[in-house]
Amino acid sequence: MFNHLKLENISLKNNKKILLYNLNIEIVEKEKIAVIGPTGAGKTLFLNLLCFGLRPSEGKIFINTENFWKKNNFFQNQVRKYFYLIPQVPDMPNRQRVMSALHASYINKWSLLKVIASLFFPFKKKSIELVLKELGLFEKIDETIENLSGGQKQAISLARIFLSQPEIMILDEPLSAVDPNRSNFLLKKILEYQKKTMATIVCSLHQPDIAKKYFTRIIGINNGKIVYDGTSKKLSQTQQEKIYKGK
């Protein structure tokens, strides 16, 4: 079970260029966190660090008081199942059908034999149909991914997170390819789901107003540094400008 996650003096370097430095952050369960900042500030790298997708060059990450990168492979794989990250660009292969693309969200919990069998017999057809009905994409179930529009692809990759039921949902700009109406609808779905499962949610956004309205905690990143870390109510206009301007 996931209780809390702690980053200690984390920094990330790439060929002597420092991308992120000196991050100190604690995340407790059931929090609703929005990550904001200008483009190229390092939001995606930060989210990747959170779900152990990148090994930091310096510093330690503790999960439930265990130092993650010092542990063995088995422990790491067990911990990875708590997390699910949705990347900015939908990551499904083009020639896959929607049905099997959504089955892929279960495979980290199944054994290899069950995964092979699921290629021929879709076990989770009913729950997939339910989620697609909620998102209004039920008629696309037998379509291939390449025939969907950008917004529909993003909705399908959101459906993946609903199906896999992780304890920490990490969303990398989930609303970047949809119109305002639809983005409101999707955001409501995400928060509804969060209420139902009491999962922790970390979401990077480009709209500070939405972040203020719906999320309890805000982390502002600029130039690889954390500029703001606090509740969303306390975020003043000047601080918000500071996050987007920097220096």
Partner: protein, 265 residues
Amino acid sequence: MKNYFLIKNTLYLVILFLTIIFSGLIIEKSNLLNLNFNNVNEVFFLFFPLEYSKEFLYTTIENTFITISIATISVLISTFISLPMSVICSNNLSSSTIFKNKNKIKDLSRYFLRTNFLFLRSLPEIIVALLLVKILGLGVNAAILSIVITFTGFMTKVFIEIIDSSNTVSSENLIRSGAGKFKVFLYATLPLCSKEIISYIVFRWECAIRTSLILGIVGAGGLGQQMELAIKMMDLNEVSTIVFLLIFLVYICDQISNFIRKVFI
């Protein structure tokens, strides 16, 4: 710059000149210019008419099926060996490269596994078959094993290359959430590069049919062995029938592989 091109061009000219001189010498030695075609008339008519007695046709068709089945079985076996091996050896599906978590032991072991397949594909099929005929005796087993040994090497190499050149975004995300290599391969990498993998397997099947014909000459059964025996016994009518059958066989295999490509790709 002008001088550079001049030197380069003169060098090419010198090389061309030398090759012409050497090839002229070799032609003079090999006696290619005064070949003797007087025998052709006599030998050519020995090939006709075609042999079409019932017993002969029966054995040739049986041997044709043996040849095709040697090729199919050996390609199937080598696919089943090489696909999992390529998943294990590929860099794209390994967690240490995706998470930039440098693990020297894992990288080294993967490298050595890859280089081990070099031993499998270093010897040509016919030499492996010659050795295996000595060990296993004449027959189909030697042909199948020799094709499996060499083709596994080739196929693993190519599959690793296909997997490593595919897009990593989809596989990365699944590995990040704790799924194993093989599961990720089935759900992310295979849909991406199934086209290339299937067309390469079909191509290898065509190659295997030709190879199994050659292996017959070493004594590994099938149509090749029958042809070799017929040549040795100077039954040239039988040889011509077999040659026509071979051309027909290769044509049919081409049509079948075209059909498979159309259906799956």
